[in-house]
Symmetry: C4
Subunit: 245 residues, 4 copies
């Protein structure tokens, strides 16, 4: 068990709790799924709610973990079985500070077929770099599909590589970002992009899709990180209106 | 008419009434559909609401039936025409303790074509064992499609065999489980899985779908029965918030 | 101008106003669309709201028309441009007592292609007799697509023939029934059936769809008229809860 | 910086603010997108909210711009990056008095493939004249996809030509009209039409779609401008009920 990385500003903890509720309100997560952020003052710690449906999370549910995904508090409540997703991505990718794991129904199909996810519009620009598919079967054979230990977390982080998203075969996806806001934004627009691409795929009759080029993706991802905060402001306000925090 | 199996704890009756409302809230049932559970103290009795839209059920609407689907109380209010689905499944399958019958629009297509339903993600793992299709036409010719007597209920239970789900041609489906919570979970994720598979089918362009293998399905079904209760907790709380019970 | 067919019981007028709101709540109509019923005491009169979005209708908005779709009250508020749909169907079909006209997005495609609508499940059983397509272009050339006079109403009623539904090319549909409740039921389940058939069409890969046979449709339509009222009870209650009437 | 075109009636400003909320409520815009109207007394000025999620706009957020999209008030709050869409369309098209820019998920696919959008039903009649696709790549190479200056706005207005809608590749669309109400109506029914066409495309199996002819489109667009206001009345009332203005 590791020592705490120190206290975190209550408004950041509230933002993290709100992020869980935002993802539920936008249909990215249902009773399952989780969002975490790296400890703002201790890069080898991260924060995530206890095992709880995202729509129910309050700030007091936030638990601090080390990168082995062991809680810093011996009395911490039970955590998510798949918290290793988060710990191993934070370990492998110092540039990422937030991770969303979800099972959005529209996204799952891209992990089940050979059709790659493409960036169908500018708000999903970060997808233009590609979305690798993690097949847990490749390294671990038949499993319960869960990334339930550090070894599986490492394998997922390997698959992620230097991308900011990985699809998980017959399971879901992870979307990451340099900030909590960007990770939530990307998770939301991955879900929207998936719906757009399903329609586009049918309309294309097997022909090409005029998706964002890699360079368009790189350029369009920039305003998403700045002007894109307008969406976070809306979503955050909706949660505050509901919860008071 | 059979004697009652004895009183049932009020919280279990409330859970059953809540299950009907959960299924309505999740879009699994609309004005039609029903959920039952086996009497916890009398395996040859089961509990189900009187004929009523699931969204309106309150604990006082719960009626006790014997396995011939005859109410134990001669003054019981009118029951569902298709209650024989439940009675005959409980008779044929001692391991099952809850049954959901629904007409979810996304699920019906799998009873109308030759494309089999597959387990597209871990929450729908129980589908990896397959989903047989019951065609009432095969044994009964042209009917009103309803499983409205014991003979038809037996035929449906035969089709179900040792599966936990059966699709019903041009009608709907039944999803079953060892507990009320698992049956509700399975009915909900059958509906979600159906939507996932529709998208996946299109994306696959006729090629294979990397669905759960049977062994993955077996393994993944286990956490659904334990950690999966997190979803029930969320859904149950939403009903309690609305109804007070 | 014709004399009134006499007063109508307030609860029936309220049911008609509620029907408009039910159709809006179920996504069958949006800002447009209308529902009418034949005058219960005067078969050559019918009742329908003034020109108003269905979600806003209150009992005081109900206007009485003769079968030429002229209001019986010279001071009646402005009516729907397409009220002739209703008048001419009532004239041509004495067995029908309620008509719903809507533009449900899922239904429109069946008026634009050669793929016929089929009855995909028992609640939409009445579709098993087929759904003719009215193409206003055939008799009237280029128009504004509206059934805005008696002649066009007659043409639509001709197309309807002895069916209880007609699709209208590039426009919408009419669903009819012997009672207000059955017409609303059919309009709702036509919309649901359309969604089911879209999914089924894709899943069938050009192969057959095991839809209801005509005889199954005839048989299954019967419980829809009786046990099916359970859905009306739910929907009506939701409106009453909202409006007080 | 240009002088103001003079005060605008408060009810018109409130209608513009309400239009933003209407578009959000109908799913046409999410955290992004914007609606503007030409200054009713000064054709070389237009009104649009400051950079803000449409669902949050209040009348005090409305800012006046000249056709170079420079605010008339030096102390105006920050505007949308893409306000040049609006300024250049107003400059190029004196007949248009309102513009909606949105990223509706159902519409984006028509900017990514060769399948043209067609007018699938009368409420979307204005689409019968065609919907040109603006590909920012053609004139500007790799960009962040945003119409973020006057030159790009001119290019978009060129593409629009004498149509009332333009699709924007991998981005969204603009829908325009002679009045605020018509532009909102067209944006809403473009979104609905897109969903209808996706279903129709699949149902047609590559065959023709019996969409509106150009002349039917021209004729059907007329009642949309008059009787079609019924939809605006409904939508406007819903906003007023919520906001008090």
């Amino acid at each position: 068990m590791s020592a705490s990385g120190g206290p975190v500003a209550p408004e950041l903890v509230a933002d993290l709790a709100a992020a869980a509720r935002i993802l539920a309100a936008r249909g990215v997560v249902d009773g399952f799924g989780h969002v975490s952020m790296r400890h703002p003052g201790a890069p080898d710690r991260y924060l995530m709610s206890r095992a709880l449906a995202p729509a129910l999370v309050v700030p007091a549910d936030i638990v601090e973990y080390d990168l082995n995904s062991v809680p810093c508090d011996p009395d911490a409540p039970k955590g998510f079985l798949e918290r290793f997703i988060h710990g191993e991505i934070y370990r492998a990718r110092p540039d990422l500070n937030a991770v969303v794991h979800s099972h959005s129904p529209s996204v799952i199909p891209f992990g089940l077929t050979d059709t790659p996810m493409q960036a169908c519009f500018h708000n999903a620009a970060f997808l233009a770099r590609g979305a690798p598919v993690f097949n847990i079967q490749d390294r671990f054979g038949d499993t319960d599909m869960l990334v339930s230990d550090g070894e599986k977390g490492v394998a997922l982080a390997d698959c992620l590589g230097d991308h900011d998203i990985a699809l998980m075969r017959a399971h879901g996806s992870v979307a990451c970002g340099p900030t909590l806001q960007s990770a939530v934004f990307r998770a939301v627009y991955t879900e929207v992009n998936a719906r757009v691409q399903h329609w586009t795929h049918a309309l294309a009759n097997g022909g090409p899709i005029a998706a964002l080029s890699p360079e368009e993706g790189r350029l369009a991802d920039q305003p998403n990180q700045t002007a894109g905060l307008r969406a976070w402001d809306l979503w955050r306000r909706e949660i505050r209106k509901d919860t008071g925090w």
